[in-house]
Amino acid sequence: MSDEVRGEWPLYEVFVRGKRGLNHVHVGSLHAPDDAMAVRHARDVYTRRNEGVSIWVVRSDAITASSPDEKDPLFAPSGDKVYRHPTFYEIPDNVPHM
């Protein structure tokens, strides 16, 4: 048997859609030997009370993340673009439906 067989089951991240019309949301993680078992475990661990209508699982090592620092330059371009928000524009009170 290979080393991996003897090791820990890989880690999966679990995403649950609470109900139709909502996004899948990250709820936590778990260990499973393969994708199919990860879905079954996710059902038992994260949806014992009808918390979901759909489950996604993805191996944690398949996720690419941005840098952990919130002040990362990655997010800087959106910092100074206040004109992307509706509140940037002043509209007189007597203009309806806007």
Partner: protein, 315 residues
């Protein structure tokens, strides 16, 4: 972890985040001592959920009715789930599940002392739900706002589930109190045994809890042990009255001035003795966990081997 920023600056950012009562996330820089404290506390919490299945789990096969059996099964299954949420929260800090299990079995990490007391009758299933889960709720509700993000999120999920645990226990005891004299005596006897260990669940008195101050400064803990113990006593007294049982404490009485109950101190020598491993069930609890782990090893290996084989087949 980023090498470009100097440590004092990172420490200042960390302190500012904690001061804002914002959350620390796993990949943030954090002081080593903070990381160690969170790992110790969350792992101990996870172990408590896992070991906590044992006293009640023994009664699943002997439940008095199908209804009680289904309830107890669901409750114990929840505790397994709580253990899993908390283990994954711990693992975000780079400790592996195998290491955690090993540290539990070797005794290097602790679990709540309450689970070293036996469940001797079915009334104990009710008392555990009412008082032990009740004390756990008291501890856990404030932890939903703890500074380490994954811990707080696990606690929110857990707290949602705990209320069923406490209510099923109380309802079980109410049912027994409506029964025979013998059943009422069983309930009172059970409450007598669990009251003091339940008070111990909040940990030693504040002046004997050296880590509390630092944990509170870091926002890991938000209340002291004594504050939570007081809250629990004040919540439990009217519940006991509604149930028709008493607590085995001659010093327990309402203090009008403090608008709170005065109460006696648990036997702290007994507490430390149980923590050191000399409780009625310490050895049995660990032996059982170790056996479950050993007995399950071939299943874990077989599942991995099957997954490997499928991979090769589809490649």
């Amino acid at each position: 972890m980023s090498s470009a920023v100097a440590e004092p600056e990172l420490a200042a950012q960390f302190d500012a985040t904690v001061r804002r009562k914002d959350r620390i996330e796993p990949r943030d820089w954090m002081p080593d001592a903070y990381r160690k404290t969170v790992v110790r506390q969350v792992a101990q919490h996870a172990h408590s959920e896992i070991i906590g299945m044992q006293p009640e789990g023994q009664w699943i096969g002997r439940a008095p009715s199908l209804r009680r059996k289904a309830i107890l099964l669901a409750k114990v299954q929840d505790e397994a789930g709580h253990g899993l949420y908390l283990y994954s929260a711990t693992e975000t800090l780079g400790v592996s599940r195998d290491e955690l299990t090993e540290m539990l079995i070797s005794g290097r990490q602790k679990y709540s002392s309450i689970f070293n007391y036996p469940a001797l009758s079915y009334a104990d299933v009710g008392t555990i739900g009412w008082l032990v889960d009740g004390a756990a709720i008291c501890n856990q509700v404030p932890l939903c706002r703890t500074s380490f993000g994954p811990y707080g999120r696990a606690m929110i999920r857990i707290c949602k589930e705990e209320s069923f645990h406490q209510r099923q226990g109380f309802e079980l005891l109410m049912t027994m109190m409506r029964g025979t004299d013998e059943q009422r005596a069983m309930v009172q006897e059970s409450v007598n045994r669990f009251w003091w260990p339940a008070l111990m669940m909040f940990g030693p008195p504040d002046d004997a809890s050296p880590n509390t101050e630092q944990s509170m400064a870091w926002g890991i803990k938000t209340h002291t042990n004594d504050e939570l113990r007081q809250r629990f006593v004040d919540m439990s007294v009217p519940q006991a009255k509604a149930l028709g049982v008493t607590f085995p404490d001659p010093d327990l009485k309402w203090n009008e001035e403090r608008q709170a109950h005065d109460f006696g101190q648990p036997d702290w020598d007994e507490f430390w003795d149980v923590v050191k491993g000399n409780g009625p069930c310490n050895a049995q609890r660990i032996a059982h966990r170790k056996q479950a782990c050993d007995d399950g090893a071939w299943v874990r290996e077989a599942a991995m081997a099957f997954a490997e084989k499928q991979k090769v087949a589809t490649a």
